[in-house]
Amino acid sequence: MDDALQKGLTRRELLSRSMAAGATLVVGAGFVAGADAAWALETTALKPETMATLIQMARDIYPHDHVADEFYAVAVKGYDTPEAAPGIETGIAGLNAAAQGKGYADYLSIGWERDRVDILRALEDSPFFQQIRGGLVTGLYNQKAVWPLFGYEGESYSQGGYIDRGFNDINWL
């Protein structure tokens, strides 16, 4: 796991310093964390609420129920820079405005994925959406820590390939 994600917060400490942001995230001063306190991501250029919304947006674009939020956080944390932040703040503000146009407080407060996806679908040709989606293709799926969650085994040369490790072990045909 990336150094930028801190681990080992106590749940009590975390909850004392944060408030809920969507179903599985909490935000506090300068950080976003999992509601289970399993990880926390400090933000420097982005508002923590923005980062939390970005993480939810990432999950809504590429939802994998067996992939934890922290991997989505790693996938988008690269936008927390002075160069990238203004564009992200503008984009997320647009997302929240779209949510408000449908009567929600903001994007994160929308309870059903399908209602969030409706908003994304309306924005999918925008440069902001395409920036986030395009970045996730490598940001999420090229994380080596994610590969085992999909069964993908990655590098095999150092283990001698699969000649003795099941290249032809299929048994159900």
Binding site: F150, E153, E155, G160, Y162, R165, N168
Partner: protein
């Protein structure tokens, strides 16, 4: 060991590019005692340098210099700056290729005769045929160590192959096997046998797959007749007042320009860079570019009718394990217009790792329709479709004067639109591919669109009549007697087969021709 030749030495043959065409040609000339300077835009990477990691390897090997795209092909939308997935390195795309080594079928050499007029297509017969090429194919198969030829055993089938084979048999297909592959099934020619590692596209770390990078190139250098200059990016070919080419201007790794004088020049930079170079070499004597009196340079770009079919099953397949493309169904490669199209296609096993699957399964796709497919990655089998596409004059490589590369040269714009025959063939193949997986219990199948091109053909095509193409039966340009084309851009038509074996066979044949012409005093 490699002989350094002087820039002013005009007795050398300059070969531009060191892949299946240029790399083989350079060695074959060197073996015949001919002095060769091979100019390679990329660096040198050997098995110890290759990495079992899709994106990292892509960054290491791929040609990433700017190009632009147009036309209705989906690549122009999803990968607008990356029309091709080819390699910039010593050995060229032979580091990346899958190893499938098939001879072009007899009828495909005479596509115009056998298919008849196809509206909108610029079909043409090759000026050579299968009977003439067979001895050269045999030399090429021996060089590459192609399995299922010359008494060499086939590779064992991996999980992905077993799924393909079982489905194919249920559909009644008969020509189903683990392919004719330039990947050793046993030790051969100082290269070891395949260890079923996967990552064939990332460079074979065992050297079990043939690549010019660690066979022809060092063997040519060992003769003392071949000098390979790495990171030597050719900018233009120059000619004298007599109209013959006399040398090549290139930029070295530091961007400094040099001119290497030459007896003759052989262009083997792939079907994008070769025509681009001829066009970028325009002069007052050749205002439309070198060898372009026909106006055919850059035209008839072909990329094979491709696509993929992935199938998801209720149990694991783990398709990434083992040789990537050692599996083929050849029954559909025949010419049978009753299917609604001319020409045919091969179905070959293919797998991508999770990172590339995410990028290429449905480019631009998102949401649960997309992610549930990836959730089933472990249970997925995959095949690639490769069929004959129709040459069209309007599918072409041109210079984009609005976009310049790092040396200030106009980049190649690659324009491609499918011919109706291509679409009909692809739809047929999608249906058959899905049926193959359905026959063994697929719960879901995906007709996946073509990737950035790996088979880039035409653009300097071979023709009997100088009006119809750029080069003659020996790959010599119709216009300039000491200028040759030595790569896949010579292809008159694409045929259904993976092109590398034919490029290699043509290169061996061309080396023989050039050496003979030199000994006759004609070159």
């Amino acid at each position: 060991m490699a002989a350094p030749f002087d820039l002013k030495d005009d007795s050398v043959i300059v070969v531009i590019g060191t892949g299946a065409g240029g790399g083989v040609l350079s060695n074959e000339l060197a073996q015949r005692g001919v002095s060769v300077v091979a100019l390679e835009a990329g660096g040198r990477y050997l098995p110890e340098d290759y990495v079992n990691d899709e994106w990292e390897s892509f960054g290491q090997l791929a040609w990433l210099d700017p190009r632009t795209t147009s036309g209705d092909w989906r690549v122009a939308k999803d990968f607008s700056g990356l029309p091709a997935w080819i390699v910039k390195a010593v050995g060229g795309t032979t580091t990346h290729w899958a190893g499938a080594s098939l001879r072009i079928q007899e009828h495909e050499w005479k596509a115009k005769t056998n298919y008849g007029e196809v509206q909108g297509a610029s079909l043409l017969d090759w000026p050579i045929d299968r009977a003439e090429m067979d001895p050269w194919y045999e030399l090429a198969e021996t060089k590459l160590g192609v399995t299922r030829t010359g008494g060499r055993e086939g590779l064992p089938g991996n999980n992905n192959y077993k799924v393909l084979e079982a489905g194919a048999k249920k559909l009644g297909y008969e020509e189903v096997h683990t392919g004719r592959m330039a990947i050793n099934s046993a030790d051969y020619d100082d290269r070891m046998a395949c260890q079923q590692t996967g990552f064939c596209f990332q460079g074979c770390k065992w050297g079990a797959k043939w690549s010019a990078a660690y066979t022809d190139i060092p063997r040519g250098e060992a003769t003392g007749n071949l000098e390979v200059r790495e990171k030597a990016h050719v900018l233009r070919i120059e000619h004298g007042e007599d109209g013959k080419v006399n040398g090549v201007v290139y930029a070295d790794a530091d961007g400094n320009e040099h001119k290497q004088m030459a007896r003759a020049v052989c262009v083997a930079g792939n079907s994008f860079e070769s025509p681009r170079l001829l066009l970028n070499s325009a002069t007052s004597m050749y205002p439309d570019g070198l060898a372009n009196s026909s106006g055919q340079v850059g035209r008839n770009y072909m990329r094979h009718m491709t696509g993929s079919v992935y199938g998801v099953f209720d149990k694991p397949v783990r398709m990434w394990r083992g040789t990537t493309m050692a599996g083929i169904i050849q029954d559909e490669a025949r010419h049978d217009p009753s299917r609604g199209f001319v020409g045919g296609y091969e179905l070959e096993t293919l797998s991508l790792g999770l990172p590339f699957m995410a990028a290429f399964l449905d480019p631009g796709g998102w949401g649960r329709e997309f992610t549930t497919a990836l959730d089933a990655y472990e249970n997925m089998a995959g095949m690639w479709i490769v069929g004959e596409d129709m040459p069209q004059e309007t599918n072409r490589v041109t210079l984009n004067h609005d976009v310049k590369d790092q040396f200030g040269m106009p980049v190649a714009n690659v324009h491609f639109s499918d011919h109706p025959n291509d679409i009909a063939m692809r739809n047929h193949a999608y249906t058959q591919g899905a049926a193959i997986y359905d026959a063994v219990g697929a719960t879901r199948t995906f007709p996946t669109p073509p990737y950035p091109s790996t088979h880039n053909l035409g653009t300097n095509r071979m023709s009997e009549n100088p009006r119809d193409g750029v080069v003659n039966r020996n790959g010599r340009t119709h216009d300039i007697e000491n200028l040759f084309v030595s790569d896949g851009s010579q292809f008159t038509t694409g045929a259904a087969e993976n092109p590398t074996l034919t490029i290699v066979a043509l290169a061996i044949r061309q080396a023989d021709h050039i050496a003979a012409e030199m000994s006759r005093g004609n070159l």
